[in-house]
Amino acid sequence: MKKAYFAPTAKSWCRTLAGTGVVLACLAAVPASAETVLTSVNISDIRTTSPLEDSDGPTFEAISHVLEGLVAYDDGASIVPMLAQTYDVSQDGLDYTFHLRNGVKFHNGATLTADDVVFAWHEYLGDTSGWRCKPDFTGKGPSKIVSIDSPDARTVVFHLDKPWALFLSTMARLDCLQSGIFHRDSIGPDGKWVKAIGTGPFTFGDWKHGEYLDLVAFKDYSAREEPKTGLGGNKTPLVDKVRLLTIPDTATARAALIKGDLDIIPTLQPADMKELQGKEHVTVKGAPGYGIAGVLFGLRPSPFTDLRVRQALAQSLDYKAIAQVAMQGLAPANNSPVPTTSPFHDDVTATMHKTDLEAAKKLLAEAGYKGEPITLTTNNRDPFALQSSVMIQAMAKQVGINIQIETLEFGAYISRYLEGDYQIAVMGYGARLDPALTMDSIAGDRTVEKRKPWNDPAALDLLYKSMQVSDTAERQKLFDELHRMFLDKVPMIILFNTATAYAVRDDVEGYTAWAGATPRFWGVSKSAAK
């Protein structure tokens, strides 16, 4: 039979493909820009540029580069002054006086004054504010702000109704956007948010929904003299622009980093570290953080209403093995709500459940548990949650606890978590930089807050005290006692502290992780040669 006259040959295909490749490679050689641009990644878009609306992690992280508060957390999770030069607390713990730094400039060139601080705080606490932390300062917490004065241009005084040890810590909280101060021109005459005019090292640049957000260096940034620490210290920007690309797929982000299209992946799943380790021009690092992951006991009927069954589960687990697998050795096992990185983590809070399979079997027999199936609810978004769940299932089986895993989409999972609608669940909590805040996320009246598994009035009293007392030694005693109660009653089993892993290209200098687990692009430079 004759050969079809239009049939392409293998040779012609190769020639065409090679030719196309050469042409495209030439086209890809776009001239380099003179400005230094650092590219990083967000797994999802930011929601807003306004601190007066409730928001999420990527938004907090972006706004933390634009706005600064009176105080900030440092690397050791202690409070340091930021826009304040110094601050004083009155003897009775009711008045906090902040002395502002001199000559701090807003992005619009205006100089920071005490009136600006009062203005921003009135907006935060005002009727129309959707600021997440407004309830903490208006009576939901142990204390509330009664008034804010500005006796002179550089002094601001906050008056509280009751002493509150966590006043500064709450002010500096990441999800409170560090109570960042914004200029009055951030809000238009109609009362609507226009743009974030702060004092931070960057301003918001281009924002293309679903594509990228630019943070542009603020050239007149008024830096502190102390070295960079946490969200405080010297925050001078060393690049012209930071481009935060929205890349939902982590595999794509890793490929882009290897190629050099990305400079930094600030939050890398520990499970993904191995793929990047050893790659040319890529450095992977990690550090333990303040987040916790643990097993929660839910409100659905289950054998875990019996303390002995909870204790048996706690004694059946090999915590070091779970932490090693889930966190790739970056964070140690920990059973305490006091994170291992906290200054309050001492010998008492370092004590853990003893792994004892025989004792666990005995407890189960006493409780009359005969292998009834128990559903462990987990989610498919956090790799560590799924890995921990599988290990818990296998370890519990050794003592006769029959666990079946139910994996949910994250939205469905959060809904069930908030309602306590599960038998047991594995849950990860974000970083809270004071042990009282960590405990507050898991302890409460479960008839009101079903998400909180630690429903013990005695523990709640101690926790409340720890939020009022300022003396460090006294707080340590309270945390030690709370830790003992937590291990005895097993209202929840904390497995480990979560770790922050990140990866950077070799031409990036100065990027480090910190306890708050948020990216920090100030003090980070990028050399011209790649």
Binding site: M1, K2, A4, Y5, F6, A7, G21, L24, A25, L27, A28, V30, V41, S44, D45, R47, T48, D54, S55, D56, G130, R132, P135, K140, D175, K208, H209, G210, E211, Y212, L245, T246, I247, P248, D249, A251, T252, A253, A255, A256, K259, D261, L262, E409, F410, G411, A412, Y413, I414, S415, R416, Y417, L418, M427, Y429, G430, S441, V448, E449, R451
Partner: protein, 314 residues
């Protein structure tokens, strides 16, 4: 022609209305709401209640639906709960981006698949046929998330021909825009080539057995002329229908490819909006996809007489 178009459009209206109603109530049946997802482990009852009120989620679902329907009638499909922007422009913009991938992918796939399917049919039961059918089955079987990542690693990372992340619109910079679109287009084309080859081969086989093909050969026409002049045109009808269906599926269903290649198209927007329970955006996107599906298939039908004159006569 106009009558045909009007008839098809009038038939599409109930379809679109059903989609609207089903989508509205279905997305609200998912467990979890935007307020819960936003607050996560910091969701106090007060914060949840406040946020649900701000988002209008504390109203009865039926009241929400009637309110949405009233606004939709005037072209307002609501505002994104997540980013606070109007949902319809968001959906249309993302849809336009998806079209810039879907249209070239379908054209490229068709240009490759139709002649290949024809050759496979012409060489039926030969080694060439087996090889082409094998390749088609392989391409069809490989999921796009995997082939996409392989293409990204090969052409983007190893050969460094194309940018791996980011997106530039064709209107903004046509050359750079094309570079960003090349890999997703190639990924989708390869996947669709598989099904189109099989369809083109099957319909070509049927035509090759018909009397008029035998007659043309008996008259001494060359094989090239028989295939190009007699078989191709008549065999293309069923493939063209499949092209229409693929096109309709692609514009709403390329979320995986858009995610792998960071393209802000409508597929990715739908998936992210579902994860975030951004109801207005999900509704707007699905409405746009449903309407476009109807329109694309209508356009395909309008072109059908070009390949099969019998349809025009009917």
């Amino acid at each position: 022609m106009l009558g045909f178009v009007m008839k098809r459009l009038s038939l599409a209206i109930p379809t679109v209305m059903i989609v609207v109603v089903v989508v509205f109530f279905l997305v609200r049946m998912f467990p979890g709401d935007p307020a819960q997802l936003l607050l996560k482990d910091q969701a106090t009852p007060e914060a949840l209640a406040r946020l649900r009120h701000e988002m209008g989620l504390d109203q009865n679902v039926l009241v929400q639906f009637l309110s949405w329907l009233r606004h939709a009638a005037s072209g307002d499909l609501g505002t994104s709960i997540v980013v606070g922007k109007p949902a319809l422009p968001m959906a249309l913009q993302a849809y336009g981006i998806s079209l810039t991938i879907a249209i070239p992918s379908v054209i490229l796939a068709t240009l490759i698949a139709v002649p290949t399917g024809l050759i496979a049919a012409w060489k039926q039961n030969s080694l060439t046929d087996t090889a082409l059918v094998g390749v088609a089955t392989l391409l069809l079987s490989v999921p796009t998330f995997w082939s996409g990542l392989l293409i990204l690693l090969l052409l983007g990372v190893t050969l460094n021909w194309f940018p791996v992340v980011g997106y530039v619109g064709l209107g903004e910079d046509p050359v750079r825009g094309a570079l960003y679109l090349a890999m997703p287009i190639l990924t989708l084309s390869l996947h669709e080539v598989g099904s189109l080859i099989r369809m083109a081969r099957a319909s070509s086989l049927e035509v090759l057995r018909l009397d008029y093909v035998t007659h043309a050969r008996a008259k001494g026409a060359s094989e090239g002329r028989v295939l190009a002049g007699h078989v191709l045109r008549n065999a293309f009808g069923p493939t063209w229908t499949l092209v229409g269906l693929i096109m309709g599926n692609l514009v709403g269903g390329i979320a995986i490819v858009e995610t792998v290649f960071t393209i802000p198209g409508i597929g990715r927007l739908i998936v992210e909006s579902i994860y975030q329970r951004d109801y207005p955006v999900v509704q707007a996107c699905l409405l746009v996809v449903a309407v476009s599906y109807v329109l694309i298939n209508m356009i395909v039908d309008l072109f059908y007489p070009l390949f099969d004159p019998r349809v025009a006569r009917q």
